[in-house]
């Protein structure tokens, strides 16, 4: 029952990563961004699917490190209220920028709609 969130590295995870778990992780990893929500499906042994509604997204950003940027990759991250961070990791940098721009526009539209509704 204990809620256990992604993004917390552990030593065991490290060792398993080093051997063969990353292959499963790669095989199961999917993501999808549409007008309603951002969907991320990931995990190797514990399989997660995460739905982040577009209206709850606070902001988005792109992170690259020295090693992954060498391969032209980036990490696209979505932030919600209540300190929730979700990453779509290791996608091509152009793809990440496209997603970032797209989500940014959708967030804007949603906020306008909400304002219109409340007024």
């Amino acid at each position: 029952m204990d809620p256990c969130y992604c993004g917390k590295p552990s030593i065991l995870g490290w060792i398993l990563d080093f051997f063969w778990l990353n292959r499963f992780r790669w095989a199961y990893f999917r993501y999808d961004v549409d007008e309603r929500d951002v969907v991320i499906q990931k995990g190797a042994l514990f399989r997660n699917s995460i739905y982040v509604p577009m209206i709850r997204i606070q902001h988005v950003d792109i992170k690259t490190g020295p090693i992954i940027s060498k391969y032209g990759l980036a990490e696209f991250r979505v932030y919600t209220g209540g300190s929730g961070v979700f990453e779509v990791a290791y996608i091509p940098i152009e793809e990440a920028e496209r997603l970032c721009e797209q989500v940014r526009q959708w967030i804007k539209v949603d906020e306008d709609e909400i304002d219109a509704k409340t007024e």
Partner: protein, 485 residues
């Protein structure tokens, strides 16, 4: 631009001495022994005085139509701006010293997941109340859709005590307060008292208490003549005594904390007042309530008493009870309480919850038995000298663990009604949570490799206040229904 009261400087000095009490004691001792110590002491006092004056002079606040501004710091300038629409709660606290000086502490919180954003120590009482009213009420009725029919300011409702349709007040009756105090049992008090007692017992052993205990022990040993019962009964008596004292202590703490508890419902906010020594006043806006919790401690559950808490800001270590909306409601009156004070969450009370899957409970039964025997074996190797004890303790622990997980299974459950998610679980207390769907930030299902065969999922979310909620082990169809929220 307003300043704090000048008496705030006194509070600052007191706080400084409270924070640095141990180094200061060292310096004071040094001041009596060396010649330079006295000068050092004087220098520190002058330094603290300077700091207090600077702190007072450079703490300014300002309230505009849309924002609250706070300017702080003499050397490192800090400016805080909080938009009215983001304010979650406003608390007004009065500690004992502050009450003597007629001052208060005002705290403004936003749902950031940290503590209070603004803490103004040393406002005059009237000023603080005025400020709180302004902060909460100026925008209260304008943006809400739900309360369009009551477009009356909360401040107006407060000012007119005769108009009972706008304002409902519930106080805790003295008999209820007594029952509440007596049904509190905080195990942490035992450890505090035990730490004290272990120091004292060395002193007390010479006095009558020790002799008294031994008398009882001897009496008992005569009753049950047999093996070396004297030391055993001593332990039993001590444990009993400790439990009694802990119970009394926690009852007293609760009594002081919830003395004169008063809940006031205004059209769009709550006002909570409580405390005997430390006066505490907080305002919660109905719109900002993320979830309502109905908490039943084991003792109170037996008698059918519950306390109602709300989730609207993150936990504050100084005031753990700050989120309690009302500490003592009888379960039979729960519906009435909700319809009168919290009609927004009324649909979540008294709902038949669907249980979680029993498969995890059955599947890991053997592991629990194994673990409990391992614990018993550990105790055996270090403490006890006979192997029969291992079997006995092992059986007792495993029965306990299995019983506990069975109770957890029976109590756990969830239900989805309209836009409300109701979720119940048991740690030590049984907690029923009523969550409004709009405060759910994201949705996540997780499948553990152990339950892939059974096609069971766990559903997770986090509220705006970073409070996590997990709904454990439900079949795929149910999980997907929750994902569509």
């Amino acid at each position: 631009m307003q300043k704090l009261s000048k008496k705030a400087m006194i509070l600052y000095i007191i706080k400084f001495f409270k924070d640095f009490i141990f180094p200061l004691i060292g310096i004071i001792v040094a001041s009596f022994t060396t010649a330079w110590g006295l000068w050092g002491l004087l220098a520190i006092v002058a330094f603290v005085l300077c700091l207090a004056v600077l702190d007072w002079k450079f703490t300014l606040y300002h309230l505009s139509d849309t924002d609250f501004y706070l300017y702080q710091g003499a050397f490192t300038k800090r400016k805080t701006v909080i938009a009215h629409s983001r304010i979650q709660t406003v608390d007004v606290t009065q500690s004992v010293i502050e009450r003597l000086l007629g001052l208060t502490t005002l705290q403004i919180e936003t749902p950031s997941g940290k503590g209070a954003e603004v803490k103004l120590v040393g406002l005059r009482l009237g000023v603080a109340e005025e400020l709180k009213r302004k902060l909460l009420d100026e925008k209260a009725p304008t943006s809400s859709v739900l309360l369009t029919e009551n477009r009356i300011d909360d401040s107006q409702a407060l000012d007119s005590p005769t108009d009972s349709s706008q304002k409902r007040v519930k106080c805790i009756s003295s008999s209820d307060l007594r029952l509440l105090s007596l049904s509190t049992f905080n195990i942490a008090v035992i450890f505090i008292l035990w730490a004290l007692f272990s120091r004292l017992s060395e002193l007390l052993s010479d006095f009558q208490l020790g002799g008294f205990k031994q008398e009882i022990a001897q009496g008992l040993s005569q009753l049950v003549s047999g093996i070396d019962w004297t030391s055993q009964s001593m332990i039993v008596i001590e444990v009993f005594f400790a439990i009694l004292v802990a119970w009394g202590g926690s009852a007293l703490f609760t009594f002081i904390k919830f003395y004169r508890f008063q809940l006031t419902r205004l059209p769009s906010s709550f006002i909570i007042e409580r405390g005997l020594l430390e006066k505490y006043r907080t305002s919660i806006q109905i719109k900002k309530i993320q979830a309502v919790r109905i908490v039943e401690t084991p003792i109170r559950q037996l008698f059918g008493w519950v306390s109602i808490a709300v989730e609207c800001t993150t936990k504050d270590d100084d005031h753990k009870e700050k989120d309690i909306l009302f500490p003592f409601v009888r379960r039979t009156n729960l519906e009435e309480f909700f319809s009168e004070y919290l009609p927004e969450f009324q649909s979540g009370v008294h709902v038949n919850l669907s249980r979680f899957s029993p498969i995890p409970l059955k599947k890991w039964m053997w592991l629990k038995v194994l673990i409990s025997f391992a614990i018993a074996g550990g105790i055996y190797t270090f403490l006890l000298s006979s192997w029969q004890w291992t079997a006995l303790i092992g059986i007792m622990i495993s029965m306990g663990i299995i019983g506990y997980s069975w109770i957890c299974y029976l109590d756990g459950g969830y239900s989805l009604i309209g836009k409300m998610l109701i979720h119940r679980s048991r740690g030590i207390n049984r907690v029923t949570e009523i969550v409004n769907c709009r405060s759910i930030q994201f949705k996540k299902i997780r499948q553990s490799p152990f339950y892939r065969r059974h096609d069971l999922f766990t559903w997770y979310t986090t509220l705006l206040t970073s409070k996590p909620i997990g709904i454990g082990h439900i079949p795929r169809g149910e999980a997907e229904k929750l994902m569509d929220l």
